[in-house]
C-alpha cells in the first residue's frame, strides 16, 4: 500500500502568556491510498490541530516541528503560494459546518467550479460537465437543478455533500474531514458515511477522518488513532482498537460509550405529574406571508412522577418546541397542559411562582445558558432568591450544597463560566435547575455539547438525582444509545407530530412506525465480544 500522508513526530505549540502550550506532542500517523484513518479524541486533544497542520494552516503564533509529508511533499516547508496550490488540488478539506464554509451569496455550482478554475486548466464547458459529474458522485439527485441553488436552499445533508464535492473536485489523493457529520441528523449521517465508504472504495482516496464519535468510526474507518492531550496513545485496525484496546485511555473511552442494545430502565406505571393533550404551536403569519404550517400539533404525552420520557426525532421535528410550549417559553396555540392536575396557562406571564418553580428547563449549550459576566455564585443565587426568598450567606450555603449535589466544589462559586470546562458548566446549569426544587426538569439536548466521558458522568448524575429526589425528566435527545440507558419511555416525533410513544425496550426492539425503524437503523454500534450487535 502506498502511503499518501505521513505525519512524523509532529509537534505544534502556541505561545501563551507565561510560556507555550503544546497542542500536538510528537504525533505520528500514516494514511495509505484507499484507506480511512479515523482520528478520535475528546475536545482539546489536538485532533483538529493535526488536520489543519496537514492543510498547511497554522494558527497565528503557532510553531510546528517534525514533518508532514502529503503526496511526497513536506507541507511544513512549502511557501504560501505552494500551499495554495496544494490545498484543493492535492488535499481536499471537508469542514464541520458547511453552513459557514459555503458562501451564502454564491450558487453552490459556482463554488465548485471556482475550485476547478483555480486548480485545473479546464475550459468552462468541461468545468460544467465535471460539476455535474461530482454532484452525481456525491449522490445528489437532479444535480443540474441543485447546482443552481444557493446554500440556504439546500438541506444540511445536501450542503455537506456539496462541501464533499468541492473537496473531491480536483480528484485529490487525500481528503481531510473534520467532524463532517457532527450536527447532522442520524439518518443523514448514515448516508454521508455510506458515501464516504463508496468514494474510498471507488476512487481509492485516502481519508483522515477527525471525530469524537467512536461508534461512527467503528462502522467506517479502516484504522483508528486515539488522541489524548496532544499525544497519539494508540493506533491500530478498528477491530483491535475497539475489541482489544491496549491504552487505558482507549479503554475508558470505549467504556464511556453507552450501549444502544442494553436493556432500558424498567417501566414505572406511575400516575402522571405532567400531562399535555392536543398540544399545538403555530407561529403567526408575517406581513404578506401566509401562515406557516404548525410547528407542533396534536401532541399528547404524560410524564410520571419519577419517570424519564425521552423525546426523539430529527432536527425540525418539533421536540424543543414541544418542551418550550410546556414550560411556557413559547405560547401554545391549542391544547392543554396540566401539572399535578392544575392547568398551566399558555403564557409565561400568567403562570404563578409555583408553576414556574415546579418545571425547570436545562438548555443544550451551557455556554449560552450561563451569563458569561456572572460568577457561579451569582448565577446560582437567582433561583434561590426568586423561588425561596433567601439571600446573603444562607443563599451562598445553599449554592455550595447544590454544587456538591452536582459533584463540584464550593471553590467553583467564585469562578466565571469561562473558567470552567464544558462539563462543569453543564453541571452548574443543572444545579441552577435543581435549586428551584422542581418536580419536572425538561432537558433539551443537554449532553450533545459534551465529550463522551463527560456525557457518561452527567448521565450517572441524572440517574442518581432522580433516585434521591422525586424527579421527572423530559429528555430531548438525538443520541439513541443515551436514550436507551436513561429513559423509561420514548416518544418519537416527526414533522411536528408524535408518531409513536411507548416503553423504551419495546420501541427499540419492535418499532411500529417506519420512521422509528429508520432512526434505529442509523445507530452506529461498537463491535465487541460482549456487545454483539445485530447486523
Amino acid at each position: 500500500m502506498n502511503t499518501v500522508l505521513e505525519v512524523e513526530n509532529l509537534t505544534v505549540s502556541y505561545a501563551v502568556p507565561g510560556g507555550a502550550f503544546t497542542a500536538v506532542d510528537g504525533a505520528s500517523l500514516q494514511v495509505g491510498a484507499g484507506e480511512i484513518l479515523g482520528l478520535v479524541g475528546e475536545s482539546g486533544s489536538g485532533k483538529s490541530t493535526i488536520g489543519h497542520t496537514v492543510m498547511g494552516h497554522l494558527a497565528p503564533g503557532a510553531t510546528a516541528g517534525g514533518s508532514v509529508r502529503a503526496n511526497g511533499r513536506d507541507v511544513l516547508d512549502l511557501s504560501r503560494a505552494a500551499l495554495q496550490d496544494l490545498r484543493g488540488a492535492s488535499i481536499g478539506f471537508v469542514p464541520q459546518n458547511p453552513t459557514t464554509a459555503l458562501n451564502p451569496a454564491m450558487r453552490v455550482g459556482t463554488q465548485i467550479a471556482e475550485v476547478l478554475r483555480r486548480h485545473t486548466g479546464l475550459d468552462p464547458a468541461a468545468i460544467r460537465a465535471r460539476c455535474v459529474e461530482l454532484a452525481t458522485d456525491v449522490g445528489l439527485p437532479t444535480p443540474a437543478a441543485l447546482l443552481a441553488r444557493y446554500p440556504h436552499q439546500l438541506s444540511g445533508g445536501q450542503q455537506q455533500r456539496i462541501a464533499i464535492a468541492m473537496a473531491l473536485a480536483c480528484r485529490p489523493p487525500l481528503i481531510i474531514l473534520d467532524e463532517p457529520t457532527t450536527g447532522l441528523d442520524v439518518t443523514v449521517q448514515r448516508q454521508i458515511v455510506e458515501l464516504l465508504a463508496r468514494l474510498r472504495d471507488g476512487h481509492r482516496i485516502a481519508m483522515l477522518y477527525i471525530t469524537h464519535d467512536l461508534p461512527l468510526l467503528a462502522s467506517l474507518a479502516d484504522r483508528i488513532a486515539v488522541m489524548q492531550h496532544g499525544r497519539i496513545v494508540e493506533t491500530g485496525p478498528v477491530g483491535d482498537i475497539v475489541r482489544r484496546p491496549r491504552a487505558a485511555y482507549t479503554r475508558a473511552l470505549i467504556a464511556a460509550v453507552p450501549d444502544p442494545d442494553s436493556p432500558a430502565p424498567a417501566p414505572l406505571h406511575e400516575s402522571p405529574v405532567l400531562a399535555a393533550s392536543g398540544l399545538a404551536v403555530t407561529y403567526p403569519a408575517g406581513f404578506l406571508r401566509r401562515r406557516p404550517p404548525p410547528a407542533v400539533s396534536g401532541v399528547d404525552l404524560t410524564l410520571g412522577a419519577t419517570e424519564t420520557l425521552a423525546l426523539i426525532g430529527e432536527s425540525g421535528s418539533g421536540k424543543s418546541t414541544t418542551a418550550r410550549a410546556i414550560c411556557g417559553l413559547i405560547r401554545r396555540s391549542a391544547g392543554d397542559v396540566t401539572f399535578d392536575g392544575r392547568p398551566l396557562a399558555p403564557a409565561l406571564g400568567r403562570r404563578d411562582g409555583a408553576d414556574l418553580r415546579d418545571i425547570q428547563y436545562v438548555f443544550q449549550n451551557p455556554d449560552a445558558s450561563l451569563n458569561p459576566r456572572r460568577s457561579v455564585a451569582e448565577i446560582l443565587a437567582r433561583p434561590i432568591e426568586v423561588f425561596h426568598g433567601i439571600r446573603g450567606a444562607a443563599a451562598r450555603d445553599r449554592a455550595a450544597r447544590a454544587l456538591a449535589d452536582v459533584e463540584l466544589d464550593a471553590e467553583h462559586l467564585g469562578r466565571l463560566p469561562s473558567e470552567l470546562s464544558g462539563g462543569q458548566r453543564q453541571r452548574v446549569a443543572i444545579a441552577r435547575a435543581l435549586l428551584a426544587e422542581p418536580q419536572v426538569i425538561l432537558c433539551d439536548e443537554v449532553l450533545s455539547a459534551l465529550d463522551v466521558s463527560v456525557q457518561a458522568r452527567i448521565i450517572d448524575l441524572f440517574l442518581r438525582l432522580q433516585r434521591e429526589r422525586r424527579l421527572a425528566l423530559l429528555f430531548i435527545s438525538h443520541d439513541l444509545a443515551v436514550v436507551r440507558r436513561l429513559s423509561h419511555r420514548v416518544a418519537v416525533m416527526k414533522d411536528g407530530r408524535l408518531v409513536e410513544i411507548g416503553e423504551t425496550d419495546a420501541i427499540f426492539t419492535r418499532p411500529q412506525h417506519p420512521y422509528t425503524e429508520s432512526l434505529l437503523a442509523a445507530i452506529n454500534r461498537l463491535p465487541g465480544e460482549d456487545r454483539d450487535a445485530p447486523g
Partner: protein, 279 residues
Amino acid sequence: MMRARYPSALKWGAVLLAVHLLVAVLGPFLAPWAQDQMMAGLPIQGASLTHPFGTDQMGRDIFSRTLAGGWIVITLSVGGTLVGVIAGAAIGLFSGTVGGWIDEVLMRLTEAFLAIPFLIFALLIVSLAGPGVQGSPVLLILVVGAGYLPRVARMARAAALDVVSRDFVLAARLRGENAWTIARGEVLPNATGVLLVEFAVRAGYAPIVIGTLGFLGFGLKPPTPEWGLMMSEYRNLLTVQPMAVFGPGLMLATLVIGLNLFTEGLSAMARHGRAERAA
C-alpha cells in the same frame, strides 16, 4: 515577550487629556491672577509677559481666566454625558429587553427626538426653561444629557437585542423575572463595553456643545470663564489681541482632539482584543 500594543492614538490622546486634567485641577492655583480680578492690568492690552493672552475690557487677565475655565468645561461635559448615558442606557436596555409594543413606542419616540438637530433641540430646551434657570450649570448638564439620551438609547437597545435571544435570558424569563430585572441583571453586564465606548464618544463632543451654547449666549452667564462664552465676549477684541479668542479656542480644540484620539485608541484596542480572542 512584551510588545508595545497601545495604539499611538491612545497614547497621544492620553497625553492631551492628562495635560487638560492637570490644568483643570491646578490651573486656578497656578494662574498669575485671580480670574475675576478686575484691573489686573490696563484694559484691552495685547499679549505681554505679565499678561500672556492680554487683558479684556475690564482689565481681567485672559490667561488666568482661560486656565480657570478648564474644570468648568470638563465637569459640565462629563456630567452631561453621564446623565445622557445612564438615562439612555436604562431606556434602551429596557426597551430592547421588553420588546413588543412598548419597544416600538419608545423607539419611535427616540426617532422623533433624533429628527430635531441637536443644537436646535438644545436652544429649544433652554428657551423653554425660562429666564429663572437659564445659565445654570444644572440646566446645561440636563440639556447635554437630554440631547444624548435618544442616541445612547438606540445603541443600548441594539446591544440588548444582541443579548436577549441568548439562553441565559430565557432562563431568567423562566424564573418569572420582569423586563427591568432582566435588563439590569442579565443584559447590562453584557453591554458595559458598548456603553463605555458610547460614553467616551459622547464625552468627546460634549465640550463643543457646551462651547457652542456658551458662544450663542444660551450657556453659562458672564462672568463665568467658560471658553465658548469667552470667545463670544472677546470676539470684538480679535483684531487688537487675537490670543483672547485663540487661547480659549485652542484649549477647547485640544480637549476635543485629545478626547477623540483617546476614544479612537480605545476602540482600536477593543477591536484588536476581539480579533485576538477570535483567533
